[in-house]
């Protein structure tokens, strides 16, 4: 037996599995083993949170619906790689952000072939932020009306709690750019809500 296997066997004898891997609940394990009913339970538990994240990042209810489905399909595919060191929810919401920004990078490559889009020309919030289905509150509508870069960073930093370095890794921008986007988002939102 290898030293790694020996060490693992010793740990298994002395420590309950759940304490070692807190994210590996019974439902998660069953889903990892291919039980679709267990995965449906996970979907029911986390769908609202995932959809909320996708909706705020995309500001598009139709797109958010597609992205939410993509997230859960990707989660099903990646489940065996989840070791339970963090909560399942943390792993899932991080995966959701990756799906959103992965899709955005693909779309960006397509858009660049058609016409360039400069985020800076959208540096003012429209006088009337169009309603987005599912976002009833004034603040949510204002967030939806932010320029895409500023909106992403505001949602990730001020709502979801990511640090600028994490945002940089997710979105492909520099941490300094992330800070600039956050400054701009906060300023625009303040102006909007002060009207």
């Amino acid at each position: 037996m290898t030293s790694r296997a020996t060490a693992w066997a010793l740990v298994a004898e002395t420590e309950p599995q759940q304490e070692r891997d807190p994210g590996l609940t019974d439902t998660v394990r069953r889903a990892q083993a291919g039980e679709q009913a267990a995965f449906e339970s996970l979907y029911r538990e986390h769908a609202g949170r995932v959809y909320g994240l996708c909706l705020r990042l995309s500001a598009d209810a139709g797109r958010a619906t597609e992205l939410t489905q993509d997230v859960f399909v990707r989660a099903w595919e990646r489940l065996p790689s989840f070791r339970g060191e963090s909560a399942f929810s943390s792993w899932l919401y991080r995966l959701a952000a990756n799906v959103v920004f992965g899709e955005r990078r693909t779309q960006g490559r397509r858009d660049r072939r058609v016409s360039p889009l400069d985020d800076h020309v959208l540096d003012t919030v429209p006088t009337r932020a169009a309603p987005v289905p599912g976002l009833a509150l004034d603040l949510d509508r204002a967030i939806a009306a932010l320029p895409p870069g500023a909106r992403s960073v505001f949602v990730l930093h001020d709502i979801e709690g990511y640090q600028h370095q994490e945002i940089a890794e997710l979105t492909g921008i520099a941490p300094g750019t992330s800070k600039a986007h956050l400054f701009r988002a906060r300023r625009l939102l303040r102006e909007w809500l002060e009207r």
């Binding site: 296997a5 679709q36 029911r44 769908a47 609202g48 099903w76 065996p80 709690g161 303040r190 809500l193």
Partner: protein, 216 residues
């Protein structure tokens, strides 16, 4: 704590989620720094509002049926090579082979032309024997590698073994579907090629896993 640090924590200050020690340092800075104090007065209403936004928003409809349909098509999951970083080509091979298997299986069903009722039983039997001879080398090679992998399965995590076995079942099922379709339409060259392609893919997968194990 400098101005940048405070501005970076302002959302958590507004949400009252800062640890006690950090809260004290932020408040100390705000008491001494007029610029940050003015900025916080302007921003706190926005950030306090953001703090109480509902994180969960119900989708406009139940998305589970669509998700269930897509994961049922997959029937497989990404392999985990015992926590060690498997070569990209090896991870791809495990996924790609099963994806090909699904395409083969599905296409085989749609390509079946039900002419078997018109064909004499004896003729069908002769074609089956002919085809068994074509499959034999692939089956023999696959079995040989499988025997080798059985010896080495201890090197893989239990999850990986489950995943690989499941993916191989998917591939075998696709081969079986192709074989059944071919039995009903033995003259169909596309089906024949599809079946042989399934065998080749299975063999490629097994060879790559066997080779990959030596690199872990």
């Amino acid at each position: 704590m400098n101005c940048d640090d405070v501005l970076d924590r302002l959302h958590r200050y507004a949400a009252r989620t800062l640890p006690v020690a950090e809260l004290a340092r932020v408040e100390d800075h705000l008491a001494r720094c007029e610029v940050c104090r003015a900025e916080s007065v302007r921003l706190l209403p926005v950030l306090a509002g953001a703090a109480v936004l509902p994180r969960a928003i119900d989708p406009p409809r139940d998305l589970w049926p669509g998700i269930a349909g897509r994961i049922a098509d997959r029937k497989m999951v990404v392999a985990d090579f015992g926590g060690r970083r498997a070569p990209h080509w090896l991870r791809y091979a495990v996924q790609a082979a099963a994806a090909v298997a699904l395409v083969i299986g599905t296409a085989a069903v749609t390509l079946v032309v039900s002419r078997s009722a018109d064909r004499p039983v004896a003729a069908r039997s002769a074609v089956s024997q002919d085809f068994a001879a074509l499959e034999a080398p692939y089956q023999s090679a696959s079995e040989e590698i499988m025997a080798t992998l059985q010896e080495a399965r201890r090197q893989l995590s239990p999850t990986t073994v489950v995943v690989l076995e499941r993916n191989l079942r998917v591939i075998d099922e696709a081969i079986r579907e192709s074989r059944d379709a071919l039995a009903r339409d033995p003259a169909n060259a596309a089906l024949r090629e599809m079946l042989l392609r399934g065998h080749r893919q299975k063999l490629d997968l097994l060879r790559q896993v066997a080779t990959g194990l030596t690199q872990l």
